[in-house]
Structures are given as C-alpha cells and as structure tokens.
C-alpha cells in the first residue's frame, strides 16, 4: 500500500514538501507521487503522538469507552500509539487478555494499542501478577493505576522483577491514607466549599517513598525504572528533580488538565472537574509548566478517563474522577502554551519524550522510519464541540473554547487512521 501526502511542511521547516509512504514505512521525501495522493493543505507534519496513559475501559466498562471509540478518538487527536491502563473489568492481569486486546485493536485501523498490564494480581497490591508472561503477551508496562500501591514491599518486588525484564513500572503516586476521602485539592477553595480535601502532601509523600525504593534498588545494582503518572504538585516535581540528579531512573508525566485548570474550577460544583489527582493551585500549574520547559518533566500524557454523562452529573462526592480529552490534547497545549513552550518542545513531549520513557525507538520522519505521522493545522481556530468527539465521553471542560492546532490527518503503520482532509 502506497500513499503520498503532498503540500506539507516538516516541523521546523517552512518548505512545502511531500512524503511517500509504502508498506508501513516512510519511503522518502519529495519523490514522484505514488498510490493514493492526499493534499495535506499546508499542514505541519510531525511523528504521530504517543499516549502513555489512557483508559479505554475495555473489557467490561464499554458503556464509558471501548477500543474502537477510544482508539478512534486517539487517532483524531493525532496519536499513533496508545498505552491503555489495566484497571478494567476484569483487570488486565492475564496474558490472554493482553493478547486479545492487541488482536482486536489491530483490526480496527485506528491508533496502535500497547496495553499496560497490572503489576499485581487483580490490582490488589499484594501478589505480583505473572509479569514475565504478561510481557511475552505484549504488555507495554506494568501499573496498578486506578489504585495506589499501598504495599511498599510488593511495589519493590515488582520493580525488581520488571527491571529484570527491562520493563517500566508506572505508579499512581498518592498516599491513600493521607488522601482519605478527599475529592479535590485541599486548600482555601476546598475549605470554602466544604468539600473534603486531598492534600498535596499525599502525592509528595508517596513520590518520596517510591523514589527511595528505587534508590535502594539502584544501590544494589538493580536499576529499576519507575515512571510517575500524572504529577500534579510542585513539591512532588521537586522530588523527581532531585531523584534525577541522583542518577535514578525516575521519570514523570504531566497532564494538560493540570496545567490549564486549577481547583478554582470546582467552585462550579461541576463533577467534570473532578480528577485524580485533583486539580491543584495556579502555583502548582506554573511549577509543572516550568518542569516541562527545563526537562524535569519527561513527557505529556492525558490520563484520558472517559465516564458516562450520567456518572459525571452526580454530586462531587459520588461522581467518578476523570476527564476524557485525548482528541483535544495537542490543540489545547498548542493554543495555551505554543508561545511559552514552543511548538517543537510540545511535539517532543508528545512523541520522542514518551518513547524515551518507555525505551522505545525514537520516532522519526526520515526515510526508512515507521510511517506513523500526523499532519497538524496550526492556523485555523475551531470551536471545541463535544458532540463531534469520537470518544463516547462527549463532554469536556473546554467545550465552546476556540483552539488551533487540530490534526488534519493521522497515519499509523502507513495507513490512514484519521483524516479531516
């Protein structure tokens, strides 16, 4: 199968070019057009994005999302690869489930699925899952996300095992006993609203513990790789900075919603703003943004967490946590932070950076590289209309906002996974 995309600019260049893709590989640039020709409408081409943290809800919670809707949404957001979280029903702790998810996703033609598997059986945090078999089945990483790893010894054993397999363990770093019944950031807003707060220390304390576990293994010559998910507080980021200085394999991701929203949004009492970890303060958001600039934050991830509308229309105590916006992540980041971070850094945080975290080959647009790419319209402003989302979760905090940077075309494995051209 051959495609030629014309009228595109490579990121960092003003020159209009064309790229030819053949059998899943970039054949070359500015060759005579072959096969299907697609007009890229002057868009900017970059490697397709990689999402390390998405909840696709299959198996078992397909009323919220399924592989088809979730991976279609990802492709519409410019993603070529998605790591799905294993806190489904049943939990992805069985090699057969990993295989079946990969097999099903392959037939869909949207973004590529790389399922994460549970670190512990049933994500119960006590007994390790069969990590060797899960890796063989195709699991991309191990995580008990959706839950916090309260049992430090089990996490340590998991990190040791994963390290021996060359795999990353990612963690939802939050001390559940400090979080207690908190549903939003603990602070002036939570007290004014009378809502139980989740203190910043719940995250920092857990990050500190997990770093010390890695440090202990590192000292024994076991370089375990810990990835901290959806970092939300300034203090926790400082701890990660210190860990990096110590030479530990500790990486972290930050989500656009923690950069663009604060706990003030909860004054609406709208559960659409209920996320875990919670929206923090403006100072936290600015600190995280600085971390993206200086490299102490490794990559962006969305924590795409779809729920049904009815669930999110419950009160703040009962509504589940999570926002689903994988289709908006790049336009949101580019519109809000295009000037302060720069286009190239944002793209890096969504392409090369997540690949580095995982130890995967770095994406490339050079001839011979896998043909995973996205064409972005950096000029046209469009209003966010949730009704048009591919995701089943057709609501978002940014509904009605005008954003630019929308994907025009996403190619995965040499095939068109999404196109608006």
């Amino acid at each position: 199968m051959t495609i030629t995309i014309t009228n595109i600019k490579r990121i960092g260049s003003d020159q209009t070019e064309s790229v030819t893709i053949e059998n899943g590989t970039i054949k070359g640039w500015n060759l005579p057009a072959e096969g299907e020709t697609i007009d890229g409408q002057g868009g900017t081409v970059a490697p397709a994005f990689t999402e390390l943290h998405a909840h696709l809800r299959e198996p078992g919670q397909t009323e919220k999302e399924d592989l088809s809707s979730g991976l279609a949404a990802a492709a519409a957001g410019g993603y070529g690869t998605v790591v799905s979280m294993p806190n489904t029903s049943p939990v992805v702790d069985d090699p057969a489930i990993v295989r079946s998810l990969i097999q099903k996703a392959q037939g869909l033609g949207f973004a590529r699925l790389r399922p994460a598997a549970a670190l512990t059986r049933g994500q119960q945090g006590e007994a390790l899952a069969e990590l060797t078999y899960l890796k063989e089945a195709g699991a991309a990483m191990f995580t008990d996300d959706g839950r916090t790893n309260e049992n430090a010894r089990t996490l340590r054993l998991g990190l040791e095992t994963a390290a021996s397999l060359g795999m990353v363990v990612s963690v939802h770093a939050e001390d559940a006993s400090l979080r207690a019944d908190g549903v939003m950031n603990e602070g002036a807003v939570s007290e004014a609203l009378g809502l139980p707060g989740n203190p910043a220390a719940a995250e920092a304390a857990r990050v500190a513990r997990d770093i010390e576990i890695v440090a202990g293994l590192h000292a024994q010559g076991r370089p375990a790789r810990l990835h901290i998910q959806h970092l939300s507080t300034a203090r926790a980021l400082d701890l990660v900075r210190e860990a990096k200085k110590r030479g530990l394999s500790v990486t972290c991701e930050v989500c656009p919603h923690h950069l663009t929203l604060t706990d003030e949004a909860l004054r609406s009492f709208d559960a659409i703003y209920k996320v875990a970890p919670p929206l923090r303060t403006q100072a936290d958001a600015e600190h995280l943004l600085e971390g993206l600039r200086d490299g102490s934050v490794d990559c962006l991830a969305t924590d795409h967490a779809p729920h049904t509308r009815a669930e999110k229309e419950r009160d703040l105590l009962e509504a589940p946590s999570g926002i689903a916006y994988i289709e908006l992540a790049f336009p949101l980041m580019y519109t809000r932070f295009g000037e302060s971070l720069g286009l190239e850094r944002i793209i890096e945080l969504m392409t090369t950076a997540p690949a580095r975290v995982m130890g995967w080959p770095e994406p490339s647009l050079e001839a011979g590289a896998p043909a995973d790419l996205v064409v972005l319209d950096l000029e046209t402003e469009r209003t966010v209309e949730p009704a048009t989302f591919r995701s089943k979760a057709k609501f978002t905090p940014w509904a009605g906002e005008s954003l630019k940077g929308w994907p025009l075309l996403t190619v995965v494995d040499g095939k068109v996974a999404y196109r608006r051209v």
Binding site: A180, G194, L195, A310, D315, L316, E318
Partner: protein, 315 residues
C-alpha cells in the same frame, strides 16, 4: 468572586449560600421575619402569600427538624408541599441528580428546598431545575437558613449585629452551620471567632474576612456577645480527629464556667441536635442565657421570609 467582595444589589434567584447576597438583601430577609413572627402569634397562623404554588422539599439526607420547619413555613404561607424523600442516595440506584431533578420538574414545582450529603448538590439542582432553590444543608458546605436564623436571634437580642462578636465552638471542620455563619455574620457587621481542636479547625477558614481562628476556648469566648456550640459530627469524622469525647468535653464544652469569659449579656446558641454534656452542658443548654428554643421558633419565621422573598417579593 469571594462572598465578602460581592456588592451586587440584584435580587438573587436562589439561596444556595450568601455569595450573591448583599447586606441589604439579607437585612430585608431579617426585617421581614419580624412580620412572619407576628403571623405565628395569631390564632390563625396562615397567610395566602404562596397560594397556588407548590414547594418541593427534596431531602437526600435524613432530617426531621429542618424539613418540618420548612414544610410548616411553606404551609403557613398557603403553599402546597410536596415531599420527596430520596433516602440515602438515588445515585445508588443509578440515577443521577440531574435525572432526579428533571423528573421532579415535571410535577410543576415552583421552588425546591434541598438537603443533600454532598457539598454543591443544591447548586446542581439550581442548575437543572429552572426554579428557585433553597439550600437546606449540603454536606459541610452551607446551611444558609440556619445562619439567617442565628443572625436573627442575635439581632433580636441586641438590636443589631454591627460590632458584635460571635464565638462558634466545636467541630468547625465538618460544620455547614459554621461555614454559613462565617460567611453571613461578617456581612452584617459582626466578627466571628471559630474555635475547636486544631484537627477540626481548617486553617484556611481564617482567611475569610471578619473571621479569626483559635484553639483556646477562653480566648474565643472572651468578649463574645453570642456563643454557639456545634455538635461533634462523629458520623462525618471517620475517626482520628479527637483523643476522646471526654478530652474534648473537658476542653471545649460550652458551660457556665466558660460563659463567665463572655460579655455579661451574652447568649448561648446551638443549631441542634445537641449532645448534652459533650459540646454543651445541661446548665448552659437550659439556663437563662440559652436561646436554643428561640432559634427553633425564629427558624420558621426566617424560612417563611426566605420563601416570600424568593417567590413573591420580586421586583
């Protein structure tokens, strides 16, 4: 916008908290309660103000006193009252709050009185109902009619709230009454001192205008014109906040001894229900300074006044 900086004189559509309420509007509610008290003293305790209207009490959290007070208030204004007792949680049956409200809307209700265990639930009802909503207590967030009746009771005693000091002692952290009073009383010119064990006294509440915090009960009560004891809400605590009830009672109980620190004419308040001899002594609850039963009577007048203000007295 914070409550303290809100100066709008527009007539609010709902009573969810006091954010949108100006001091003038709040004083109008209190003034009108005088008239309502006179109605309650008549042989026929009924006026036709809300005739033909239907008021729905939607209580998602159990309550007897507040609901009774509201229902009587509505009936004394000649409204029809529809009682919706949702039990512990309609969500446990899978229905969202929005769905519940949209069903109730089909009954052509003119106003909703909402109690819910979750902060902000009354705001959600207001968003979906299209009709005036009175918050009858939402989680730890707000209980505005309770604060209004507290303010009214203090004003009844001293003629004005201007320059008065109100000490509120107890489980501040879990108290919607404390939050609503901390929002309302400074708007009406009073100072509020919140007092309790450090674990039950969120530091952030001390940033509200006109509000100070202390864990020293003697200091809190010193010079106070009104002293309010709050119930220890053990059902909301989940343990760990206190060493023991005895330790708490020995330190923070509102009793005759503590009241010696207050102004000579100081009164004792309690939003009820009381844990006698825990947060308040028998003697303080029943003594000459107590206005606890007066609060109950005033509550009905205040609720009549609020209903009138939201449903009839619109410009």
């Amino acid at each position: 916008m914070s409550a303290a900086t809100t100066t709008t004189s527009a007539r609010p559509r709902h009573l969810l908290d006091f954010t949108e309420w100006s001091p003038e509007r709040l004083n109008a509610i209190l003034d009108n309660a005088d008239t309502m008290l006179q109605v309650l003293d008549r042989p026929v305790k009924k006026v036709p103000a809300l005739q033909g209207m239907t008021v729905c009490t939607a209580f998602f959290e159990s309550s007897t006193r507040t609901r009774t007070s509201f229902e009587l208030a509505a009936r004394r204004m000649s409204a029809d009252v529809m009682t919706f007792a949702a039990g512990a949680s309609s969500a446990s049956k899978g229905e969202s709050l929005r769905d519940t409200v949209e069903v109730l809307t089909q009954y052509k209700v003119d106003a909703y009185i909402v109690r819910h265990h979750a902060a902000g639930a009354a705001h959600l009802v207001a968003r979906y109902s299209g009709k005036p909503v009175i918050n009858a207590g939402d989680g730890r967030r707000a209980h505005p009619t309770q604060a209004l009746l507290d303010a009214y009771t203090i004003r009844q005693e001293f003629g004005s709230l201007e320059g008065k000091t109100v000490a509120i002692l107890g489980d501040v952290r879990h108290s919607r009454v404390a939050r609503s009073n901390a929002e309302l009383l400074p708007k009406l010119g009073a100072k509020v001192v919140l007092c309790g064990p450090a674990t039950l006294l969120p530091a952030e509440l001390g940033t509200l205008p006109g509000v100070t915090l202390t864990s020293d009960p003697q200091a809190a009560v010193r010079g106070a014109h009104a002293v309010m004891a709050l119930r220890l809400q053990q059902e909301r605590m989940g343990g760990g906040f206190l060493g023991s009830l005895q330790e708490y009672a020995d330190t923070y109980q509102v009793n005759e001894g503590l009241m010696q620190e207050a102004e000579s004419g100081a009164i004792v308040l309690h939003p009820g229900p009381m844990n006698r001899d825990v947060e308040i002594s028998h003697e303080a609850a029943d003594g000459p300074r107590s206005r606890i039963l007066k609060q109950v009577e005033n509550g009905q007048a205040i609720r009549m006044s609020v209903l009138y203000h939201l449903l009839v007295g619109r410009e």
